[in-house]
Amino acid sequence: MTEKPQARVENIDRDRGHYLLHQMLRIRRLEERCADLYAQTKIRGFLHLYIGEEAVAVGVIDALRDDDAVLGTYREHGHALMKGMSAESIMAEMYGNVEGCSMGRGGSMHLFSKEHRFFGGHAIVGAGLPPTVGLALADKMLGRDRVTVGFFGDGSVAEGEFHESMNLAALWQVPALFCCENNLYAMGTALDRHQSQPDLHLKAASYGIPSIQVDGMDVLAVSHAARRAVAAIRDGSGPQFIEFLTYRFRAHSMFDPELYRDKAEVEKWKERDPIKNLTTYLRERDLLTEQEYDELDQSARQEVERAVEFAEKGSLEPVEDLLRFVYSEPEEDR
C-alpha cells in the first residue's frame, strides 16, 4: 500500500518549467512582502509564512481543475494564490479591507473564496480535515467527478480529528486527496517529539488509504505524484494520501525566536530551496536563461507591488456592517 519516496520523473519542457517557477516566485515574493508589512503593522494578528514549502502548493494545486476544492490551514496564502485568487484580494484581506477575499473579517488565517472553491483558511489544527471529507462526500453523493484537497501540517496527525477523518474517508471511499505538509516541526516541537511513527504516510496507510511519501522540495516530484493521485481519485478509486517532506525557512509565526532548531539545520534545508532547485534543473538543461529568470521574478514582484498598492488604497468595512452576515440575510432566505 505504501511506496517509497518518488524520484523526479516528469520530463518537462521550457514553458512548463517557466510556469512552475513563476508560480513559486509569486508565492515567495508575496510572502516576503507580507513580512515587511507586518513589521510596519499594516498586517496584524498572527502571520504564518510558507516560505520554503512553495513547491507543495504549486505542484498539487496545478494538478487540479477549477471546480476542484481546496482547504488549507492558517499557512495558506500560497494555496489561495495558486487556486486562482488574486494577490490583490489576498493582500487586501491581510490589511483588513472590505476589498479583501473575506471582506477583512478573516485576515491572514481565514482566506476564503467560494468562486475559486477555496474553502479556507482554518486556524484550529486538524480541524480542516473533517470538512475536507465532507466536501468530498457531497461530490460523491451528487455524482460529480470533483476532487477535494485538504492541506495540513504534521502537527495535525496527533489530533483525533485526523484519525476520525482518515477512517471515514477510507470507509466511504470519498474523492479526497490528503496532503500532509510535513515540515518536521509543529510549532517548536520536532516530529520525533510528537509522533510515535514519524513516517506519517504509514498512519494513513493503516486506514487502507493509498499513501506515499514525496520530496516536497522538488516541484516536479510533487507535480508527478499529485497528477497521478488526482487522476486515480477522479476515476473513482477513493481517497489518496501524500506526505510531503518539506521545511519552513522562517519562524512558525512572527513571534517565534526559533530556539528549538539549529541555524545549521535551517541552512542545510535552504540549499534545497524549491525555487533554487528548479532553477538549477532548468539551467542545467538549457531551459532557462538568466534573463528569463529575471523576467519571471520581475513579473512576480510587480504583481505583489500592485497588490500592495491596491490594499493601500483600500477601505475598511463600514461600521454599520459589523453585525451583518452572522445569519443569512433576508434576500438570501428561501
Binding site: 496584524r44 494578528g45 483588513g96 477583512g104 473579517r105 482554518h122 486556524a123 496527533a158 483525533g160 517529539r193
Partner: protein, 326 residues
C-alpha cells in the same frame, strides 16, 4: 511593593505549588522546551525536569483525558491549553469526565485537575482565536471557574486552584499577560468563590471579571470626572461558585447594577448574574440591570471592527449612566 507581570505571577504560583507538592505536574503543548506559548511556564523544565513539565503533541482531547486519569489516580495535574479556543476539542473529557467523576461515583472519586490557559481576544487574531468561552464551563455542575484580573489575584488564585480538590477551569486573559501589578513577596492565597471590590462607590455597582475589570476601572474614573458618579467595581474573580454575598452587600448599598463581560450576551455568565440580581435583589433595585458585552458576532479581523465589537469604556459609561437615569 514589588511589581511583576501577570505571566510571571502565574509562573511563581506554578513553581511554588510544584515545590510544595510533588504530585503537581504541568502538561500541555509547548510548555517545556519552548517555555510556554505565552511564557507562563518559563524555566519550569529546568527547575523540575521533564517528568513534571511535559510537552505533548497537539492533542487537546487526549492530554486533557490523560490529566483526568492522573487526577483520578491522585496526582494533581495542571493542564495548559495553549488557548481556550483549542480547549473546545477537549470538552468531552472536561464535561463528561472531570466534572462528573465525583458525582457518578457517589463521592468515591475526586478529580483535582486544573485546566488553564489563555482566553479572550488578543488583537487582530480573528474569529477562531478571539473567544471568551467561560460560560461553557460555568454552565456545568462539577466544575469551578476562575478568571483573575490582576497579577496579585492571578498568583493567589492559581495556587488555590491547584490545591482545590475539584476540577478548576482557570482562564487567563491573553492581553493581560504583560500587565504589571503589585504582588507580595510572602506567600498568600486568594480564596475560591470570593470576589473583591476593586473600587468603592455608592452610586452604581458594576459587576465584571478578568480583562474587563480594567475597562470598567477606566470607565469609573471617567464617570467620576465627567458626571460625578461614584461607581463601585466588583470583580467576581471566581465565576462558579458565585460570590453572592458580595453582590448582595454592594447592591444593597448602590441599588443599581451593570454587568460587564467580554463574552457574547446570549446564554452567558453575565446573563446568569443579571438573573440572580433581578430575582434575589428585586426589592433593592432602582433601575433595570444593565449589561455590556461583546457584540453578538464572531470576532472580525478588521482593525476598525474589532474594537467596536468589544466592550469599551464608552459603552460601559453609557450603560452606567442609563442605570443612573442620567
Amino acid at each position: 511593593m514589588r511589581e511583576i507581570a501577570f505571566r510571571d505571577a502565574l509562573n511563581e504560583a506554578l513553581a511554588e505549588e510544584m515545590e510544595r507538592d510533588p504530585d503537581v505536574f504541568l502538561m500541555g503543548e509547548e510548555v517545556a522546551e519552548y517555555n510556554g506559548a505565552y511564557k507562563v511556564s518559563k524555566g519550569l523544565l529546568d527547575q523540575f525536569g521533564p517528568r513534571r513539565v511535559i510537552d505533548t503533541p497537539i492533542v487537546e482531547l487526549g492530554f486533557a483525558g490523560l490529566g483526568v486519569g492522573a487526577a483520578l489516580a491522585g496526582l494533581k495535574p495542571v493542564i495548559e491549553m495553549m488557548t481556550f479556543n483549542f480547549a473546545i476539542l477537549a470538552l468531552d473529557q472536561v464535561v463528561n469526565h472531570a466534572a462528573k467523576a465525583r458525582y457518578m461515583s457517589n463521592g468515591q472519586l475526586s478529580c483535582p485537575i486544573v485546566i488553564r490557559g489563555a482566553g479572550g481576544a488578543g488583537g487582530s487574531l480573528a474569529a477562531q482565536h478571539s473567544q471568551s468561552l467561560e460560560a461553557h464551563y460555568a454552565h456545568v455542575p462539577g466544575l469551578k471557574v476562575m478568571m483573575p484580573a490582576t497579577p496579585k489575584d492571578a498568583k493567589g488564585m492559581l495556587k488555590t486552584a491547584i490545591r482545590d480538590p475539584d476540577p478548576v477551569i482557570f482562564i487567563e486573559s491573553e492581553v493581560l499577560y504583560g500587565y504589571k501589578g503589585e504582588v507580595p513577596e510572602e506567600e498568600y492565597l486568594i480564596p475560591m468563590g470570593k470576589g473583591e471590590i476593586k473600587r468603592e462607590g455608592g452610586d452604581c455597582t458594576v459587576i465584571t471579571w478578568s480583562r474587563m475589570v480594567h475597562t470598567v476601572m477606566d470607565a469609573a474614573e471617567e464617570l467620576k470626572n465627567s458626571d460625578g458618579v461614584d461607581v463601585e467595581v466588583l470583580d467576581l474573580r471566581t465565576l462558579r461558585p458565585l460570590d453572592k454575598d458580595l453582590i448582595r452587600e454592594s447592591v444593597k448599598k448602590t441599588n443599581r447594577v451593570v454587568v460587564v463581560e467580554e463574552a457574547w450576551p446570549w446564554a452567558s455568565v453575565g446573563a446568569s448574574v443579571a438573573d440572580f440580581v433581578a430575582r434575589d435583589l428585586f426589592d433593592w433595585l432602582d433601575a433595570p440591570v444593565g449589561r455590556v458585552n461583546q457584540r453578538d458576532v464572531p470576532m472580525p479581523y478588521a482593525f476598525n471592527l474589532e474594537p467596536l465589537s468589544l466592550p469599551s469604556v464608552e459603552r460601559v459609561a453609557e450603560a452606567v449612566k442609563k442605570a443612573c437615569y442620567l
